[in-house]
Amino acid sequence: MNMHDPSRPGLPASVTEICPGAIYSLGGVLPADARLAAWIPRDVRGFIPFQCYVLRDGGQFLMLDGGLPVHRDEVRAGIQALVGESHERRFMMTRRELDTIMNLPWIAHDFQFQTLYCGGDLSPIDFFEKMDDANIDAHIKTLVDTPFEFLKPGPVGKVGKLELEMLRSPLMVLPTFWFYEKTTRTLFTSDCWGFLPQPSSGGPRVRTPSNEEITGERIEKFLSVKFDWLASIDNTPLSRDLENVFDGRPVDRICPNFGCVIEGRAAVDRVVEQTLLTLQTMAKIPRSSTLAGWNYQPESPSGAGQQ
């Protein structure tokens, strides 16, 4: 069942109700231009929604990521419309990158969030993770006054009747966590699977794509932008990790940080199937030289050098 109801009154244009009364996207739309080259293949046309998400129920309000600063007004309007009299306000981040937490300082301050959460502790024996946690901890504490805690993968509590589980993302560049909401069967995938544009600037932001829109070629182009390291590697373990995410977790919709929400079990299943095939395809791509096309020659490469 498509739970998206765009006709629901009383919400600003920057808010899309994903699951009635429970899950919303907040954000804005950008034309698929060069500014999006960090995430979107250059030949994509149309409009790309960028969003964060709100889960709310029973007086609890939880934000997943904070949206882009260029959409500050849209995100603010969305929070104002949804926050109501909620007595418990939490913020969780799927990644520790600029596109997910740049809005955090004013969100936490202006809307009085009680607690901020970040995925951490990927491996308790891991020196680097500890260092990376220390890194982000220092960053967040420099930016925001609100108490800050690390979460480990697993159940991370309820938002009213909603039950949220944090998962390690199998497809990531920097530490990334996906979130699964059990009662609505919604998977929040951060920077993954944002390959579906809006046909017009006015939407819709929730789509059930046809099979022709969910092809291996399209997914490969998308993965090759930010996840280009997936090419020419043995990604068997990643495929296994991806399958494990969906093992025992029925998913009716995929909610990425950018690109349309992919609605419908059949569409989700096809996305996963095509992604697994794409990983196999990408593994077979011959490694290309990073230096291809780089012709620079210093004027005196063997000189003594000056200070």
């Binding site: 060069a34 500014r35 999006l36 080259a37 960090a38 995430w39 882009l68 600063p69 260029v70 990158e97 600029l98 596109d99 740049m102 491996s123 024996i125 891991d126 020196f127 680097f128 500890k130 260092m131 990376d132 220390a134 890194n135 220092a138 960053h139 504490k141 420099t142 930016l143 990531m172 560049v173 920097l174 930010k226 390291w229 997936l230 020419s232 590697i233 043995d234 068997t236 373990p237 990643l238 011959p286 490694r287 290309s288 030289s289 990073t290 230096l291 291809a292 096309g293 780089w294 012709n295 620079y296 020659q297 210093p298 004027e299 490469p301 063997s302 000189g303 050098g305 000056q306 200070q307």
Partner: protein, 277 residues
């Protein structure tokens, strides 16, 4: 020229590496296996005869110190360019801080998305790519491919001092204690290869799933062409013993030896790194 002598390390950043290269930022310390260990989050300033460039914006917790260090180093000169090597917080998260402090500075990088983060600064941002050069007067900054990276990244080569800035590459965590933060590689014992591996397996996730020796031919070719005197990493000390360090750094890119739970079995040894297409 030739009269300047580098001061001995003080144990803390900043350090004036050459008259025209400042190393600032700082370390974050954590307790690890009962010992205090450090990891660098470095920022550099290249001062040309006409223009000056900041390389990486640094960690937020080091801002107030780094701001002062850069100010002292530049004297009455402004900072002209801010170059985040890539868009990760320790490298590019303080762009707005530096641009506010130096209101005529231009942010340069392969960062097309940055105007979406700081729309009010969009007119002071310039997109650059591999092969581009910025003239600082008596030296240039030449932007070169990043061989080892996570997000889209540019490395840079300073042509007169022959310094290669390598962002997340050549990183090494070091059991250096407080007081060792500004040591160059010639001033401390070689870093533990296992800690280089630890870093790379986590910071450069792809290294867990592939034979990184396939990247060594590119590295060797770049080093052959540039012949750097120093290599300046964001997460390690300044490398001034390149010949000694490069084999160690390469070993540090090999997986399955760090003691960490390796994800895949290490690939069989090859006689020669494959030539890439």
């Amino acid at each position: 020229m030739g009269e300047w002598k580098r001061a001995d390390p003080t144990g803390e950043l900043p350090r004036v590496v050459t008259p025209n290269l400042l190393w600032t930022g700082g370390c974050l310390s954590i307790e690890y296996q009962g010992e205090l260990a450090h990891g660098h989050f470095s920022t550099y300033v290249v001062r040309g005869s006409e223009k000056a460039m900041l390389v990486d914006t640094g960690h937020a917790s080091h801002w107030s110190a780094a701001e002062k260090h850069v100010e002292d180093f530049l004297g009455d000169r402004p900072l002209d360019y801010i170059f985040p090597t890539h868009g990760e917080f320790p490298h590019g998260g303080l762009v707005a801080h530096w641009m506010k402090k130096y209101p005529n500075a231009i942010c340069v990088g392969d960062l097309p998305e940055y105007p979406l983060y700081w729309p009010h600064l969009a007119d002071r941002m310039r997109q650059i790519k591999v092969g581009d050069e910025i003239d600082l007067g008596d030296r240039k900054m030449v932007f070169v491919p990043a061989i080892w990276r996570d997000l889209t990244t540019l490395w840079a080569f300073e042509t007169t001092g022959r310094v290669l800035f390598v962002s997340d590459g050549f990183a090494y965590l070091h059991y250096h204690k407080a007081g060792h933060c500004d040591f160059m590689t010639s001033e401390h014992a070689p870093p533990d290869v296992k800690l280089i591996q630890f870093f790379n397996e986590r910071a450069l996730r792809w290294t867990r799933y592939t034979d990184t020796r396939e990247t060594f031919a590119d590295l060797d070719e770049m080093l052959r062409r540039l012949n750097p005197l120093m290599i300046a990493a964001a997460h390690g000390g300044v490398i001034d013993t390149t010949a000694e360090m490069i084999p160690l750094v390469k070993d540090g890119m090999l997986m399955g030896q760090s003691g960490a739970p390796a994800t895949i079995v290490k690939m069989p040894a090859k006689d020669k790194a494959p030539t890439t297409a």
